[in-house]
């Protein structure tokens, strides 16, 4: 199988959600050109353009295909390509991660040699409430209508259950989540692309209003608009483009798993068969197998932290160790840039706010810069070789990849 690598990665500044201008397609074209220039490639070199769709159609009253679902085609039109495959990926919070995994697979099988993975999102503001679809009434709407279970309600239920299974008080997981926010915010302040630069102390986080107990307001990410572009090529070509290629050691795509006891957003019911969070763990296990590594080889993590509970659970699942180890790692601040397992040195979604479908670009960009030693003040002190990024969202949407220094 052909090896694949990232040769360039660009992101835009994450900004407040909900503003229609500047036009998304203009911002996307601009960041794409930056990524192409870093790789010294031209649009004609692209065999594929794979983008995420945006969260907007969720709330669109329209029931015909919308422009927000076709960024690949519109971007191809904007930059001008010659025969590139255009693919739009829709998978909630994991959309861009899956677009990336798809590009990786197409290159590894030899179907293409060079892919642009790009995307932008402009999230709805506040709690995500369903719209009305005329032809396919959204079953998710029913869970909100009947139960009033918003996304943070599910995250909060997961967090409380983790504390219970560990025999901990709810206060202890609150304190841990507040510390996660404090640490993430320190790095957001150092990231020029992050929307939020304020550094929070754990006590400020605990003093913010409760949204869904045990989640306080500052433990939940805001909604933002942002995106980025990444160029992926086969390894042979990557080595000609850059002397610092970052290998894609593995990429996996997940989905809902039968028997996962933790109710995924926004189901009414689930069969309790598997170990809790199997849905989060399985694609990681597959990625380790594909890359021929174990959790002990992971040097750095970028994970999709729509709440601070997510960061905790991602560490649990990525490391596959006793959960007490995760608590210790965080409490000892070993997830900082000076620690033994840095997590979200980008500042995380906690500092960016969530551009739902495009969030992976922030994670890929950070790992790419960290592994190349180009992360400036945020640069991890330890010698980095292998990093992992993960995303999980509504409907059980899931994407994950392992990146490795290849120079």
């Amino acid at each position: 199988m052909t090896e694949s690598a990232i040769v360039s990665a660009s992101i835009m500044e994450w900004v407040e959600a909900g503003h229609p201008t500047p036009l998304l397609i203009d911002r996307l074209a601009e960041v794409t050109v930056r990524a192409l220039r870093e790789a010294n490639l031209r649009p004609r070199d692209l065999d594929a353009i794979i983008t995420n769709t945006t969260a907007i159609p969720f709330d669109s009253p329209s029931y015909i295909t919308t422009s927000a679902q076709h960024f690949a085609h519109r971007l191809a039109e904007r930059i001008g390509v010659k025969g590139a495959q255009c693919i739009n990926v829709c998978a909630a919070c994991a959309s861009a991660s899956i677009a990336f995994a798809l590009a990786d697979s197409l290159i590894k099988t030899g179907a293409i040699k060079t892919a642009l993975v790009a995307g932008i999102d402009n999230s709805p503001r506040g709690f995500y409430l369903p719209g009305q679809s005329v032809l396919d009434p959204d079953p998710y709407a029913a869970a909100i209508k009947v139960i009033g279970a918003t996304n943070p309600a599910y995250w909060a239920m997961w967090a409380r259950r983790r504390a219970y299974e560990m025999g901990q008080s709810v206060e202890s997981i609150k304190e841990l989540m507040a510390l996660v926010k404090e640490i993430h915010s320190k790095y957001g302040a150092l990231n020029p692309y992050a929307r939020y630069k304020r550094i929070f102390a754990a006590k400020d986080v605990l003093a913010s209003p409760v949204v869904c107990d045990p989640l306080h307001l500052y433990m939940i990410c805001a909604t933002s608009s942002g995106g980025g572009a990444v160029v992926v090529t086969e390894m042979e070509k990557a080595k000609k483009i850059t002397n610092k290629p970052v290998k894609i050691a593995a990429s996996t795509v997940g989905g809902p798993i039968y028997g996962e006891p933790m109710p995924r957003l926004r189901v009414f019911s689930t069969m309790n068969i598997e170990k809790p969070f199997t849905e989060w763990r399985l694609p990681i296990e597959k990625a380790y197998k594909m890359a021929g590594i174990t959790s002990e080889d992971i040097d750095i993590i970028e994970c999709h932290d729509t709440s601070c509970f997510h960061t905790i659970n991602w560490i649990d699942q990525i490391m596959g160790w006793e959960r007490e180890e995760t608590d210790k790692l965080i409490k000892n601040r070993e997830i900082e840039h000076t620690g033994r397992l840095p997590v979200n040195l980008s500042g995380g979604t906690a500092s960016f706010g969530e551009a739902v479908m495009s969030q992976a670009f922030m994670m890929i960009h950070e790992l790419f810069r960290q592994l190349r030693g180009e992360a400036g003040e945020r640069q991890a002190k330890k010698n980095l070789k292998i990093g992992i990024f993960t995303a999980y969202g509504a409907y059980g949407a899931y994407g994950c990849a392992i990146l490795e220094k290849a120079f």
Partner: protein
């Protein structure tokens, strides 16, 4: 007089003195789904027999919960914060998410016995809208 109507048809028996949740069960493998589904969801199922409608146990144990502090905006503004959302595990092995009714949230404990209750969710000028809730079983 206002009419009492289910918030969504087909979730629970109504009208009924002791309403139960309506689900589907695969006669082959026993996998259950709530709300009703058209096919079995067990990946090992050969789908040679269609699923059947069934009714769920009305008692289970509290799996997890959260107090939702904020009210939702229109058209869901009848979910007025603070309200409680929880998940209850039924003897069938199915975990069901629903609103929880309790006088004092502090009395909720994971693992405690819960019972189904169909009650008013909200009313407008025409109807009283009913939904299913879970409430603690008070022993004794």
């Amino acid at each position: 007089m206002k009419k009492s109507v289910p918030i969504i048809e087909g979730l629970f028996e109504w009208p009924s003195e002791n309403p139960r949740l309506i689900a589907t069960r695969c006669p082959l493998c026993g996998s259950m789904q709530f709300p009703k589904s058209s096919v079995c969801n067990n990946p090992d199922c050969d789908h040679s027999v269609p699923v059947e409608q069934c009714y769920l146990s009305t008692e289970g144990t509290l799996y997890t919960y959260t107090v939702h502090a904020y009210s939702l905006r229109e058209p869901f503004e009848y979910h007025k914060g603070p309200y409680i959302v929880g998940a209850v595990e039924l003897p069938e092995g199915l975990i069901v998410v629903g609103r929880i009714k309790v006088e004092d949230e502090k009395m909720l404990k994971i693992g405690m016995k819960m019972r189904l209750k169909v009650d008013k969710l909200y009313e407008d000028n025409e109807n009283i809208y009913l939904s299913y809730f879970f409430e603690p079983v008070v022993e004794g």
